[in-house]
Symmetry: C2
Subunit: 146 residues, 2 copies
DNA sequence: TATTGTTATACTCTATAACTATA
DNA sequence: TATAGTTATAGAGTATAACAATA
């Protein structure tokens, strides 16, 4: 029984995590690397960069967004030339969304910009704190999908 | 030069963190412990529980929200009987916000409800992962305020 | 009949700008 | 003149409900 050992600590961690996630989320909203891209749009591009391509439904599930919201997001990305929509080979109801070359270039550029923010953060965190963040990052990702 | 040792890992962590924070934030929005309380309202109550009392301006800065937004949030909390507003002793422009007994009871109740969600999460994370979350939680809090 | 995606609509949260009162 | 808070308004992002097309 793993959690019984640290039940209270886990609960405290969840409280702390929730508060921190909400506040960090608001900060991240303001420090967009690209002014014209919302956090979710950015996240979708990141997913496509990792997975190659996906249907709108898959993207909606991954981003924890309802299908109509993803329809809108994909349409915005397409209008910006960052995403391509193609018919699904097997199922004519579905569509296949994939990133364009322009999206790849934009992600590279945004990575460069992110380093500026990263540098400013690095001044406030020590090695040990960074190590803890690196260790927790994959767990947070897992948590977001659990 | 601390960060040069793990510069790439830190950058990857930041990418991963941002994505995870945005997705987790959306999940948390949906799993409110109290349907009638927004995440920020909840966060404000948490802050008041920790700090005792604060002015609207202090709360706005802590939550990374603009003053007019905090005005609205405080008004909503007051209407729900969770917060009390009193005149500032030294400065008649300011106000002092503090939580009511009802807020304390509600926080206790919400803590109980949170355990349900916690229990479901515990099934998906092992001891090691929980340890990483516990270690990173204070760093995330710090990051949110940096 | 179930599922994928879309359209139309409304809501929640936050921001900006302009204003009031106090310092 | 500067600061704390408020009012009024607008905008971004998401949700729900109803619908179309395909399985």
């Amino acid at each position: 029984m793993p959690d019984l050992l640290h039940g209270d600590e886990n609960e405290a961690a969840v409280n702390s995590l929730r508060s921190a996630v909400m506040r960090l989320g608001r900060r991240l909203k303001h420090q967009r690397v690209d002014e014209s891209l919302s956090p979710t749009e950015m996240s979708v591009l990141g997913t496509l960069a990792r997975c190659g391509s996906a249907t709108p439904g898959e993207l909606a599930r991954k981003e924890h967004v309802q299908p109509p919201s993803m329809t809108r997001i994909v349409a915005l990305l397409e209008a910006k030339g960052l995403v391509r929509l193609e018919p699904h080979p097997d199922d004519r109801r579905q569509k296949v969304v994939s990133q364009t070359e322009r999206a790849e270039a934009m992600l590279e550029e945004s990575r460069r910009k992110r380093n500026v923010w990263l540098a400013s953060l690095a001044e406030g965190l020590d090695d040990d704190e960074w190590a803890k963040l690196r260790a927790a990052a994959p767990v947070l990702e897992k948590l977001a999908h659990l």
